[in-house]
Symmetry: C2
Subunit: 351 residues, 2 copies
């Protein structure tokens, strides 16, 4: 049956447009349960992004693009030729779903730009075409990033990755894990050490699941075990994704990335950031301007569905941090590689 094939739960099927609905592989329950959440409104899509049904900057952008299609469909159904009057609110909901990943805003802007050329007729066919293009372009960008990044890895070596910047976080294939996949195919990677990535455990839940799927040797470790592993001398690269890169090359990514960058520098290990150019925000001068999402303290004070900390204790839960460009060895994008990024080099990349 066609439906079951399109909606087969696999790392490369995190975001699926199928028979006029948006399906998200519900990443909150992986790897224990692999099931799709079906969405047909922009509001439900925004809620799913907030709730981390889908996560990862490029995947959030793609999801938001499909969310705009859902918004347009509802707007045209309710207001016909006057659909523009009804689309602002759902678009605002989508934009407010999460603050840090710039791909979200980038995708909504691109969809808005596409709307400009439309008349009073049904906007859905044109917008769906644009959303599918965003999705396909991201998938292609990941392949290019994978090739470019892999070419820079002299191996075989072991690597550390943090959080999940894989197929699940993108339109497919992955950014950091795309580089790792390509490098592994080329025989340049022995084993991947996946930081578990508290508090959401994207490393042990998602990255481990993805790499097992791909047959790439993977070992999970606690986030704080990375330093001791680096000291053994067996790690050649730290490879991560990004949620937003500022115009000077500062990199926002999952909490813990900054520590890894400092540790990599201390141990003389390369630090590679793999991200599509849709993650680069040339409007922000530096990482200090990137809004860092702080989520509920309960995510830190609980784990695996159980309360951990004592009642009444405070917790901080910033879910991203900023790595200064000076600690970044390489930013690998689909347009090319930036070594030791600076504002000048970033401008050159972005044209």
């Amino acid at each position: 049956m066609e439906t079951s094939k399109a909606l087969e739960p696999s790392p490369d099927n995190a975001v699926v447009w199928h028979e006029d609905r948006l399906y998200l592989l519900d990443q909150r329950y992986l790897p224990e349960r692999a099931s799709f959440l079906s969405l047909d409104t922009a509001a439900a899509t925004a809620q799913a992004i907030t709730d981390m049904v889908v996560r990862g900057a490029p995947a959030i952008g793609i999801t938001a693009a499909y969310g705009v299609v859902l918004a347009a469909r509802d707007a045209y159904r309710s207001r016909g030729a006057d659909w523009r009057a009804a689309i602002e609110l759902p678009l605002d909901l989508l934009a407010a779903s999460r603050p840090t990943a710039v791909n979200l805003f980038w995708a909504i802007e691109r969809m808005k730009h596409s709307m400009k050329g439309l008349g009073e007729q049904d906007p859905v066919p044109a917008l769906l075409k644009e959303a599918l293009a965003i999705h396909a372009e991201d998938r292609a960008a990941n392949r290019t990033i994978g090739e470019l990044g892999a070419a820079l890895i002299e191996g075989p070596t072991d690597v550390i990755t943090h959080c999940n910047a894989g197929a699940l976080a993108t339109g497919g294939y992955g950014t950091a894990l795309g580089v790792i996949r390509s490098a592994h195919s080329a025989g340049c990677i022995g084993r991947v050490y996946a930081d578990e990535t508290r508090p959401w455990m994207q490393g042990s839940r998602l990255t481990a699941w993805e790499l097992l799927h791909s047959g790439i040797p993977v070992t999970v470790q606690t986030d704080s075990a990375a330093a001791g592993l680096m000291a053994t001398g067996r790690i050649g690269w730290v490879i991560v994704g990004s949620d937003r890169i500022a115009a000077n090359g500062d990199v926002a990514n999952k909490i813990g990335t900054y520590a890894l960058a400092v540790l990599a520098r201390y141990h003389g290990i390369g630090f590679m950031v793999a991200a599509p150019t849709s993650t680069i925000d040339m409007c922000l001068e530096s990482g200090a301007d990137i809004p860092i999402e702080e989520r509920d303290a309960g995510e830190v004070l609980a784990c695996g569905g159980s309360r951990i900390g004592p009642e009444g204790v405070a917790a901080r839960n910033p879910v991203f941090d900023v790595t200064p460009a000076s600690l970044v060895s390489l930013i690998v994008t689909e347009r090319g590689v930036v070594e030791t990024p600076t504002a000048v080099k970033m401008r050159a990349l972005m044209g």
Copy 2:
């Protein structure tokens, strides 16, 4: 009732000798449940140490000392004047319970030394006296460490601590938390940031519970959030305990400590190790010689009683790491403070 008072669950009552039995506050279930495990054999005591009913290097040493008393009681009951013939096996069990904390071996050696002077009569009274002395001396050492460490903190400032080096980890009062308690009393500490300390969550479970008990402001954070907090400039010190310090000043402590030391150095933050001299192992030249316990992978692949990682994935679970002396600002002991430790300075301290 006297029993209920002696066995009141509180951070200062982690290890209690009461009415001829050893009671351990079961730290596996704190803070959700505060209850004592009652032990009356050395074998059960060794198992409790292995299972982390009690943890923290000084507390393990004290527990082992009481375990030797239990071993002697059984040996004398079964063999009378020939009790020495029956005590070796239970002492070996105690020594094999965990590998890294040297206080365990130190306490057993001290108890063995105490045995030498005994004749064929019941050894229990003399050995119990020695175990109680070890316990009392540790408590007193913690107070001294607290005062010496606190005197070096110019405040008020916020600090980071890792794992639990508090009353629960010692004979009472605590090493790192002893310094923090004394410094807080002196008005030199604003807030303590407690790393949650995966995989056992000693920070969010035990340190948070202890500091709430003491009325010291505490905020829990994931281990990987410490770096971003240091970058804000509001952290004056990182203060930790230790499980074993080598003759050159290298420090073994809970996994993640080494990362904190590198990060503290990068951010120009002082890194203080608070530990009694029973933690110093002058027989080991450097940290490279310290045996690092690797526990079951399941501790990493689960949390809060729930499985997290996918079936079939590998995990590494080294539960300690080694911080080179060059990254340590201060080692604070009950005999005095060693600044930027070296082998020469450590020898001077240990006489």
